[in-house]
């Protein structure tokens, strides 16, 4: 298990470096940075001045190494738009995104796994049909629309919860439901399929032949094996929620990372874009690593591979 984790860490490091190169290069590929920073009305001299000021006249490799060196010390430079450093902007918004993502995933897991198990056990029953309906609706409904509906019902009409803003935990309930419901159908369906497949397997028959209780057969022998692909999916879903919850964040006016990235892109605020892309990529890497470790803990065959 130890060597497995070390091996995975090395791979993760390689991926992180590659992503840092790509996220740095992407911006330089999108055109002359100095021109776009200076704006359409700038003169050639002003552009040249900006080029020198921002260090854009130096060789690309040395620019990258400077940026990477800074990034390793959490120094991503200053925002072109806000009057603060990039890292401050990120640190300010990170808790919002993490809270939202964590709550949404927690909610999705708590609903999708039990529902998937019950749907598999009661295959073709009304519970199964209802679960399928729940999943199809979740997949078909745009998350912004569902978010708006939640606001109309629970914030505007019933006045139970705030409609927008990021204050206490109560501000996260509606967005977490909206985002969590979005992640639920796939995990629910995967749990159900996994359970159906595992319940047909020979080792479940062996477990039953030993006279084990139904609880033990389902939870000890079946769920543990059925859940393995769900763990990997949950990691991807969480990564997606951390990086891609722009829509939900704007519907509920939660100033998270997604919102920051979106604003930065529209304002050509390149240091912020670069930093957010790198950080979200790092989230994915860490989550994938955790999912791999969790899978190895669940399935001994993976450890020796």
């Amino acid at each position: 298990m130890g060597t497995f984790i070390v091996r995975r860490l090395l791979v993760a490091l390689g991926v992180a470096l590659t992503i840092s190169v790509v996220s740095f290069m992407l911006l330089h590929l999108s055109g002359d940075l100095a021109t776009s920073i200076a704006g359409p009305e700038a003169t050639a001299e002003q552009v040249a001045q900006i080029r020198v000021e921002y260090g854009l006249d130096r060789p690309i490799v040395s620019q990258y190494l400077d940026w990477l060196g800074g990034a390793l010390q959490f120094d991503f430079g200053r925002s072109y738009y806000y009057q603060s450093t990039v890292i401050d902007l990120i640190v300010e918004r990170m808790p919002i995104t993490l809270t939202l993502g964590g709550l949404a995933l927690g909610l999705a897991v708590c609903i999708s796994i039990p529902l998937g198990v019950v749907a598999a056990l009661k295959r073709d029953s009304w519970v199964d049909r209802l679960a399928l309906l729940f999943a199809v609706v979740g997949q078909a409904m745009p998350s912004f629309w569902f978010g708006l509906t939640l606001i109309v019902v629970f914030a505007v009409t019933l006045k139970w919860l705030p409609a927008a803003g990021s204050g206490g935990l109560e501000h996260f309930i509606l967005p977490a439901i909206a985002l969590g419901y979005y992640a639920t159908p796939a995990m629910m369906r995967l749990t159900r399929t996994g359970m159906l497949e595992v319940l047909e397997s020979d080792y479940i028959r062996t477990a039953r032949a030993k006279g084990l209780s139904t609880t033990s057969v389902i939870f000890k022998h079946a769920l543990r094996n059925a859940i393995i692909p769900v763990v990997a999916l949950a990691a991807v879903e969480l990564g997606f929620m951390l990086g891609g919850s722009v829509v939900i964040e704007s519907v509920f006016s939660l100033g998270g990372l997604g919102q920051l990235a979106w604003d930065a892109i529209s304002r050509n605020d390149y240091p912020v874009v670069q930093a957010v892309v790198l950080i979200i990529a790092l989230f994915y890497i860490v989550l994938t690593l955790l999912a791999d470790v969790a899978n190895a803990a669940l399935d001994p065959r993976i450890r020796t591979r």
Binding site: T206, A207, N225
Partner: protein
């Protein structure tokens, strides 16, 4: 009183085209410490029979039995809870596929001790000691270290030994072994067969051994029941069956086995022509008549075979389900060597 007494066991499965009569009224009895072989080709109902005995039939299957007694107790009358207490404790099962019959996520120790602990035969330490003792008994070296290993770290032959040890954990009265050697290499097959036979004699456990291979039967069985199309068509002590196979199907099966040294090299292997009748809907008359050499060669009155034959007593324990069981076919059957 036999350990297991089954009369008129029927298993029906609803399928799209109607009802599949997988098991059509079989009678079986197994004495304590006896090895009964259930033989037949795939689809003859032998696996369904074993699942019915264990109470592990698929939920949609319907079971009925004139009598289904285990140690004097009617299994059909038991609650699911009581049935669960017997299962794994007094009747255990060994399955065909050792590669998939063990849970990949748990250690061998965990899976071996499970039934022992579930049936409250002792504490963890006692379970572990029993597991080590049995692993050694089934010929696995370094048994204590094996307990921490996972199924994927073992070969098929070793896994089947683990399955056997697992079945023995609670010292059951009856073991049902469903083709336990079919998925193994021939050399491993022989070892496993010998092991099962030795254990059965040593521990006095009754075994129902299910196979399609009459060559295997000759080596291990006390008694044989040959199944065809969901029925027992012939049953006898092993020696008697091989000396005097009375149902044309049994004779056909025996002639399918090539005997080393007797079957000339290059000669055609025997096969029974035709296919098993569909068991969906009622089967009228003798189920074997469309493949029967006696009928095909006009040696017998085919009209009589339109009537369903009963399982008739021929001599002593020897019974066959054929109107013409006493008819001696002209074709001689190559008999495999019987082990002493």
């Amino acid at each position: 009183m036999p350990l297991l007494d089954v009369q008129d066991l029927r298993v029906d499965l609803p399928v799209e085209a109607g009802t599949l009569h997988a098991v059509r009224g079989i009678d079986l009895s197994v004495e304590r410490g006896e090895m009964l072989c259930l033989v037949g080709e795939s689809g003859c109902g032998k696996s369904m029979t074993s699942l019915a005995l264990m109470g592990l039939l698929p939920r949609r299957a319907r079971l009925s039995a004139g009598r289904l007694d285990f140690d004097g107790e009617s299994l059909t009358a038991l609650s699911e809870r009581r049935r669960g207490q017997l299962r794994g404790r007094r009747m255990a099962m060994i399955f065909q596929e050792p590669m998939t019959a063990l849970n990949p996520a748990y250690t061998l120790g965990n899976q071996l001790c499970e039934a022992f602990l579930r049936h409250r035969l002792g504490n963890r330490r006692q379970a572990r000691e029993r597991a080590i003792e049995l692993l050694e008994r089934v010929g696995i070296s370094a048994a204590a270290e094996r307990l921490a290993q996972y199924p994927h770290q073992l070969s098929g032959g070793l896994r089947q030994r683990v399955m056997i040890a697992m079945a023995l954990m609670c010292d059951p009265d009856l073991i049902i072994a469903d083709e336990p050697t079919t998925a193994l290499d021939v050399t491993i097959q022989a070892q496993i067969l010998r092991l099962l036979r030795d254990l059965q004699q040593e521990m006095g456990t009754a075994v129902i051994f299910i196979t399609h291979d009459l060559g295997v039967v000759a080596r291990i069985a006390d008694r044989v029941a040959v199944m065809y199309a969901g029925e027992v068509i012939e049953t006898a002590l092993t020696q008697a069956l091989y000396a005097n196979p009375s149902h044309p199907y049994t004779r056909g099966l025996l002639s399918c086995i090539p005997a080393p040294g007797k079957t000339p090299p290059g000669s055609r292997l025997q096969a029974i022509p035709g296919v098993v009748p569909s068991l969906v809907g009622e089967v009228e008359g003798c189920a074997f008549r469309n493949r029967c050499p006696l009928v095909r060669e006009g040696e017998v009155d085919a009209a009589r075979c339109e009537h369903t034959p009963e399982l008739r007593r021929l001599t002593g324990d020897h019974q066959a389900r054929c109107h013409y069981a006493e008819h001696r076919a002209a074709t001689r059957v190559a008999q495999p060597e019987l082990s002493p």
